[in-house]
């Protein structure tokens, strides 16, 4: 399995990472090796097997529709990088 640099760049962008040029080529190599290992899975036929998303075969337990939370803004804003007038701030988003 070989992955080219442009694909690495695409994946890095989807993941919002900004690898440098040398990291991109290292990644391409490494990911290729890891995916080769992963592809051992193809040694068996799973066409009749149902996917298993969760180890336990149980269903969700639902929550009653009740308000249990109170305003905790100040507490949460103390750990935020940048806030003003109750809002989180990010560089201006142009739409």
């Amino acid at each position: 399995m070989s992955i080219d640099s442009s694909e690495i760049r695409k994946i890095a962008w989807l993941a919002r990472l900004a690898p440098g040029e040398s990291e991109i080529s290292d990644s391409a190599l490494e990911m290729g090796r890891i995916l080769d290992m992963v592809e051992q899975m193809n040694s068996i036929d799973t066409s009749e097997v149902e996917a298993l998303a969760h180890p336990l075969d149980i269903c969700a337990r639902l929550r009653a529709d009740e308000v249990t939370e109170t305003d905790n803004r100040e507490h949460f804003h103390r750990i935020a990088p940048s806030v003003a007038e109750g809002h989180y701030l990010v560089p201006k988003v142009i739409e």
């Binding site: 994946i11 919002r16 090796r33 051992q40 097997v49 336990l56």
Partner: protein, 485 residues
């Protein structure tokens, strides 16, 4: 005081022969002289611990304290602790003071336990050596040139060095059992859903499970008894009664059926480890266990499936680290993309980024079926193998790791080799089963761990078997040179 196990300390505290504050001060003193050597803590918090210890002493005076009241503990730095830095050993959370407690922390606080430290770990629990920590690797007390294992390396190292009587850990692919094996202590990963994941920072949500790192099985049983139980805040937590783990410890194991999977005893297994496991099997036979050979035919596919499913979930779980609401934000972002890309590129370490990349790739359009879906199907086959095995035996037994603790930097440039060292542990996470690692001796002066795997919610049986073994052996009582008591 430091030589005592949790069970012994509990008896002393409840009988008020010692106070929590006294006990804590003894641990603080020991850490002052030995603590720094092993780098097993990210945060060491004696002042807060003293407050907790004093509260515990008051509680102990009322005579209404629980068995764990007043005993110091370390929490892996993956558990959120209110008002205390919770970094997950990542630069991206280096400044993160958790605004709430994980359910596990909350439960143990309520039981009166005293949090003395947040332990070192691999960044976001991604690693098998503790070397991916932003704070540098924690070291193995048996040989400081070697890794303590990972990702719960700091917890294992601290308990092994007797810097803490017990610690919490998490296990996604072996992160409790492997470091327990490398450090010669007892590590328990419960059934998926047994211990709440709320406030336990997610790596791979369908695999992560919190558990214990202790000196022996009895201590695991005591600790698990407080940690386990249904939590309405975690949708994957199971509403299943919590067994009396300590009550079951002394049952005889006469007639217990123990299975040895052929696939765990292959030529790749270090011969020193194979010998120690054989010795242990003989001990169990002497105690009346019946040994069977079994098959787990898809074991070789567990690493491939694991390295699709866990990075896929991790790539999504780690999207919230974006520099907006908490954690690291890069300096002077020029625009939104720059804020995201630079905060994440600078905030995450190499291994975490590697896994995010793999996970993003296997979920991306055109590859989902070939990788992610395929891995989920393999996951079912692996689970079915175990179910088949448990129709024949009560417990599955094998080595925890293919080798003993390796040297620092030995595997850092070879991620694939590092991944392969999880071969005996990851299948258990894929299946969601409970498993333990207990010390069974040494190979070239390094501890060897034996893994016991049980059926769903059969922690009691594992603890019982481990305890019975520990009543006839003393491997769990050995301490490393320089850390004797």
């Amino acid at each position: 005081m430091l030589q005592h196990t949790l069970a012994e300390l509990s008896a002393l505290l409840l009988a008020r022969k010692i106070s929590s504050e006294e006990l804590l001060r003894a641990y603080i003193d020991r850490n002052e002289t030995l603590g720094r050597e092993l780098n097993c803590f990210i945060s060491f918090i004696p002042e807060l611990a003293l407050e907790q210890a004093r509260r515990a002493d008051k509680l102990l005076q009322t005579g209404e304290a629980s068995a764990l009241a007043g005993i110091p503990i370390g929490h892996k730095d993956i558990f959120c602790t209110e008002g205390i830095k919770t970094s997950c050993a990542s630069r991206i959370l280096d400044n993160f003071i958790a605004p709430y407690n994980a359910t596990v922390v909350e439960r143990l606080n309520k039981a009166g336990m005293v949090t003395l430290a947040k332990t070192n770990m691999d960044e976001f629990a991604m690693g098998s050596s503790n070397e991916t920590s932003f704070y540098g690797a924690s070291l193995n007390p048996w040989d400081k040139q070697r890794v303590p294992g990972g990702s719960s390396g700091g917890s294992a190292s601290a308990v092994a060095a007797r810097l803490l009587p017990a610690a919490t850990g998490t296990d996604t692919g072996g992160s409790i059992r492997q470091p327990a094996a490398f450090c010669g202590i007892s590590g328990l990963k419960p059934t998926y859903g047994r211990v709440s994941r709320y406030g336990m920072i997610a790596f791979a949500s369908s695999l992560d499970q919190g558990g214990t790192l202790t000196r022996d099985a009895r201590d695991s049983a005591m600790l698990l008894g407080e940690m386990a139980g249904f939590d309405p805040l975690d949708s994957t937590s199971v509403d299943h009664p919590v067994d009396d783990y300590t009550g079951a410890l002394d049952k005889p194991i006469e007639g217990l059926r123990v299975g040895l999977p052929k696939q765990f005893f292959n030529s790749k297994l270090d011969s020193g480890i194979a010998d120690r496991i054989d010795d242990a099997i003989k001990e169990l036979e002497k105690a009346g266990a019946r040994i069977f050979d079994i098959e787990l035919p898809n074991t070789h596919l567990s690493i491939p499936a694991y390295y699709v499913i866990s990075p896929a979930e991790c790539s999504s779980n780690l999207e919230r680290y974006d520099g907006v609401r908490f954690g690291y934000r890069c300096e002077n972002p020029v625009d939104l993309s720059d804020l995201y890309c630079r905060s994440r590129e600078e905030g995450f370490g190499k291994e975490v980024k590697r896994r995010i990349m793999i996970g993003t790739y296997v979920l991306s359009s055109g590859y989902y079926d070939a990788y992610y879906l395929k891995a989920q199907k393999v996951r079912r086959l692996i689970r079915d193998d175990f179910q088949q095995a448990f129709s024949q035996v009560d417990v599955i037994l094998g080595p925890t790791t293919p080798s003993t603790a390796f040297k620092l930097n030995e595997n850092m440039d070879d991620p694939l080799n590092m991944y392969l060292s999880d071969i005996f542990t990851v299948s258990v996470n894929l299946a969601g089963l409970p498993a333990m690692s207990i010390p069974v001796g040494f190979s070239d002066s390094l501890p060897v761990g034996m893994q016991l795997i049980g059926n769903y919610f059969d922690e009691s049986r594992l603890l019982n078997l481990a305890h019975q073994y520990q009543t006839v052996t003393d491997w769990h009582e050995h301490t490393a040179e320089g850390f004797e008591l």
